[in-house]
Structures are given as C-alpha cells and as structure tokens.
Symmetry: C2
Subunit: 335 residues, 2 copies
C-alpha cells in the first residue's frame, strides 16, 4: 500500500500510518521520509482527506465511520462494507461511475473478483455477458504474511523429508489446518451453509454488484470454485463465460476487446507458448489474459485464463487507483 502511494499521481502532502497499539512506534519509510506508526483513535482522522483501510473487517467497521465523520473519504480494502447497498464497490476499469454515489466509504472488492471483472468487462461491453463459471488457482499471500511463511517452512520440511506442520491455512479462523506445500486446498475462507466457501460467495455476489449494480442481480449468472495452490503471489483463474451476442462474438473479437482494454495485457499466443503465469505477473498492476478459445459445442461460450498480482491489482493498487479516480472526478478534495 505504501509502495502504491509512493508511485501514485495523487497530490499527497503528508502521510500518516495508523495501526493497532501493538504496531505503534514502529518506523516505516515513505519515499525519503521516516514515519512513525501511530495507534488508531477516532481523532487520528482529523484533517485527513483520504484514509485507506486494510486491517480487517472489525477495524474498518469501528473506525471507517469515525474517519468519514471527520471529513475523510475512506477506501476500504476489507469485506466490512462491500455488500452495503449505500457503499460503492469499485474496480475503476469496470464501474468508475459508481463512485459518484459514495457517502464517504468506497469498498475495494476481493482480490479474486477484481482480476475477473477486469478481464470480463471489455467482453461484456462488446458482446454482453450472460453467465460466468470460474475456477481459481489462488496464491498463498492472499491469506497473509504468516501463511506465506508457512508455505516456505512446509516446503523446506518436505524437501528435507520431515513432516509438514500446518497452523494457518486453509484459513486461520477455521478449526483444522492442512499443509499447502505440494498440495491444493479446495477451501478459501470458511464454508457457508450451502456448501460454498465464503470466497466463492464473494466472487459471485461482488461480481453481480460491480457488473450489474446489485449483489443479487439476475442479469449475470455467476458460479465459482476457489482453490489455493502453492504459489506465493498472483492468482490464476480459468473463466468460462457465455456472451449475449453469440452471432457476432468470436475469438478474434474477444482478443481485440481485451487488447485495447485498460488494465489488461493480452498474452495469448499458444503457438509460441505465450499465456499468463503467476511468476510473470508478480509486481505488475495489470491483469494478464490469455488462452481465449471457444467451447467447441456451444455457439455462445468461451474460455479465458487470467493472472494478476493479488497484492497489487487485487488489493493495494486497486485501492489507490480508486483514490486516483475519486480525485480525477472531484469526489475527493485533497487539501
């Protein structure tokens, strides 16, 4: 987040770093300044124009309204407000205009949703979109720094012939823990009563809200399967989709739409083994899309494969990008 703020075009006068009392006093760099982390209290937000929250849903629920009360616009990277009909859920490439309706808080979607809607929006604009079936191959960093360390430790233990020990994944808040090293975990976040994981639920309802304005919209059907793979950074997704305009849609037309789309880099040349991969996406703000091909037995269905850095476009960059768009639209008054 700090790195994205260092690189932003926003006219930043000063930066505050806020955290819990546990982290207060820590010193972090912003450009050539050293900034001391302060404990968050409601009055921390006095005089603040823009507050980026990314410290868990509980913290956002408690402090985001306090920040708004004190005149800040909040971009919240947690799930606290995403389904609030009063709070825009925004991916700038897709629904920038939703920003006009904000009341102080704008929600940043879940990482796996963001890269999917960035890949699908250019197609939706050109050919319409009826249905999406997504299978994810998600990176470990989505579960935080401790999960990343767990992947490293388990991996080394496995190579050394030792037993692997899991404390965090599939999700810190659940009862059982399984190794991610050399494994695939078909669980991200906890399970809902209907057998979907909460991550899958998010992909379904966030996509509907971002692309069709309502978390329960019937305009676009979405279903999802989310799995964690032993990759540190960058989620991959196989996206199967049905277009409205079957007559005019084709692979070349979809590729053309993607080639010209903001935030998208088309990497689609199977003959030369060009396709998106996590190791190439890490560190980039773009969503890489390839393997566009038709379902050979349907006239309106296609596949694509996308990869994006879940920590940048999936989190920090999308948050800062929202702030840039707020500023551009005069919806954020930087003093």
């Amino acid at each position: 987040m700090i790195q994205m703020l260092e690189e932003t075009t926003l006219p930043i006068n000063s930066v505050k770093l806020l955290a819990s009392s546990r982290s207060a006093g820590k010193q972090l760099k912003f450009k050539d300044q050293t900034i001391t982390v302060e404990e968050t209290v409601p009055d921390s937000f006095k005089g603040v124009d823009l507050a980026l929250f990314s410290a868990g849903g509980g913290v956002s629920k408690k402090f985001a309204p306090e920040a708004v009360k004190r005149g800040a616009v909040v971009v919240d990277n947690t799930s606290a407000f995403r389904m609030d009909p009063e709070v825009p859920l925004v991916v700038p490439e897709v629904n920038e205009k939703a920003l006009y309706a904000h009341h102080g808080i704008i929600a940043n979607p879940n990482c796996s949703t963001i890269q999917m809607v960035v890949s699908l929006e250019p197609i939706r604009q050109k050919f319409g979109l009826k249905k999406v079936i997504v299978s994810t191959y998600q990176a470990v960093s989505g579960a935080g720094n401790r999960a990343l360390q767990e992947l490293r430790t388990e991996t080394q233990d496995y190579l050394d012939g030792k037993e692997m020990h899991a404390d965090i994944l599939p999700t810190a808040g659940d009862k059982k823990h399984y190794p991610i090293a050399f494994n695939v975990l078909p669980q991200i976040d906890v399970f809902e009563e209907d057998g979907y994981s909460h991550e899958e639920w998010k992909m379904i309802h966030e996509t509907k809200k971002i692309m069709a304005g309502d978390m329960n919209s019937k305009a676009i059907k979405v279903t999802a399967t989310c799995a964690r793979v032993p990759v540190p950074v960058s989620h991959s997704e196989e996206v199967y989709f049905e277009v409205e305009d079957a007559k005019n849609a084709n692979v070349a037309g979809i590729q053309a739409a993607l080639r010209n789309a903001p935030g998208v880099v088309l990497q689609d040349d199977p003959d030369h083994q060009i396709y998106p991969m996590p190791i190439n996406a890490e560190g980039s703000r773009d969503t890489f899309v390839g393997r566009v091909r038709p379902d050979q037995e349907e006239d309106n269905a296609y596949h694509l494969w996308n990869v994006s850095d879940n920590l940048l476009k999936g989190a920090a960059w999308n948050s800062v990008q929202i702030a840039e768009h707020l500023d551009k639209l005069n919806l954020l008054h930087m003093q």
Copy 2:
C-alpha cells in the same frame, strides 16, 4: 505398475520386464524374485498372455501388434490406440462391457480423464449427463520422473534465493520451458490449432468415447482446461456438470450415488473441512470426491471436486484393473 501387479488378484505364473536396450540388464524386484530387464523384441511376447505397455506411443505402435500376433492381450497405457474405433478405451467402473469388443489391444485412458469419468458415471447412471466443464489442477508426476526431479530442484533453488531453471515442463517436446515450482502452467502437452492443449483434447474426446461410445459423440458435451500445479502426485479437478433429470437430481441424491459407487470415496463434509486433497490421495487406488453443490442459478447444474493418484488409478492401477476384468469376463486366458 510392478507394485500393482504384486497386489493383483490375477493368477500370475511368471513376469517378464521389457524395456529398451538402454535399460536392459537392470534388475528389478517382483515380490521376492529378482527379474532382469530384457530388451524388447517382437519375440519377447511369445508365450505371454498379458502385456502391459507404458513406454510411450511409439513403442506401443511398434510392439503392441507384435504382441497381439503372438497371442498376448495388450493393455496399452499410451495414447497410441485410444482413438482407434477398433480399440476399446476402458475404465472398468464405467464401461467394462466395451472389453467384449477387443481385438487384442485395450487402451488405458489418460489420467485426468479416468478420475473424471469415475466421478461422473454414478451420477450419469442416476440422473443422466448433458454437459461437463472441467478445470484441472494436475500433478507434476504426470510428466514423468525427470519433471518431478525438476520440481524438487527448482523448489530448493527458489528457497535458496537462486534463479530457477526449467528444462522439461510444461512439456518436454515443446520449445520453451518454464518453472513449475511456485507457479501454475496452463499448458499440458502441446497446443492444437484451435487453442486447446492436447491434454484438453484428450479429456474431451476420451470422455465421449468412454461414456458415449464415440470420440465425437454429441450425447455428452465436454469442455476442459488443463493446468499443472506444483504438486508431485495426485490430480485435482473441479468438475461442473449438467444433468438430464433436473427434476429428481439434488445434492443428497448425487452424494448417495457417489457413496455407493465402485472406486469412489465420498469425502464431502465442508462443516468439518472434509474434502479431497492431493496429499491424502497419494498411494490410493480410489477417486476421492467432495464439494458437491448446486449452481445456485441453474436447476440442472452442479459442481464436484475430485482427487486421485494419477500414477495409480490414472495409470498403473487402471491398466492392471482392466486385466483383472478381462480375466473375470474370460476375455484373457491366463495359462
């Protein structure tokens, strides 16, 4: 393969181990015997009742007809004869009866196909099957021992902060090679002209041949996306499927069909975090199935997640199991 033969119920009198001249002279154990590997020549098959081939398509094309000429029944684990309309392509749990039509050669399907059709057949029998959309998370051992070694070396290099070097994956026969460690490769085998990989092509046409009797059958629609993940053994698959009998199908009915199905172990209890994972499937002949849940916006579509040991049910065990069924049906005359 040797291990599966050690454990088989087939009445084996003697075993020959055949290979190229490069491996001839090597000694391997079968139960308490030490057997010297011999170079394969046409007359190697004199007096042989059952020949299991697993040394590449070229070897099978050259020697399988020679073995048949000398009275052996061949179970071929390569892709050499899979699409030959005269050669049954068999997964015993699904289409055992196809064995009756054999002319000396029976083909063993591709690993990723086998575990999918084992999972789907009980559902097809009960509710019919219209369409399948599969996304795979395939293990490295599917690409052979050298690929497995490559995964280990790359993994250690990554942990040591060294650059990773790839020589084999995504597929030895293609021009470019990319690391598999901490990565996902959306390429298995080479690409066809239509943008599908050959592995995806196999899943589509083998499934049609096994379940509907014809590699181009329109009775079941199939589309596939195959990706390799950094897992040594056991493929995982997200299988999305549409049933014929939407009115009577439901999750409980699908689970009941799977619970009673041969070769299937139902591991489906999300509340207790019970679902199939590669680390639990390695070494088992079964296909583990879980995460059965409906597409919430379709009345005839469901998801399941399956995992199976690609070296056992996906290869060696299915081959030996075919032999056992040939014997049971009196289609193999063990002397």
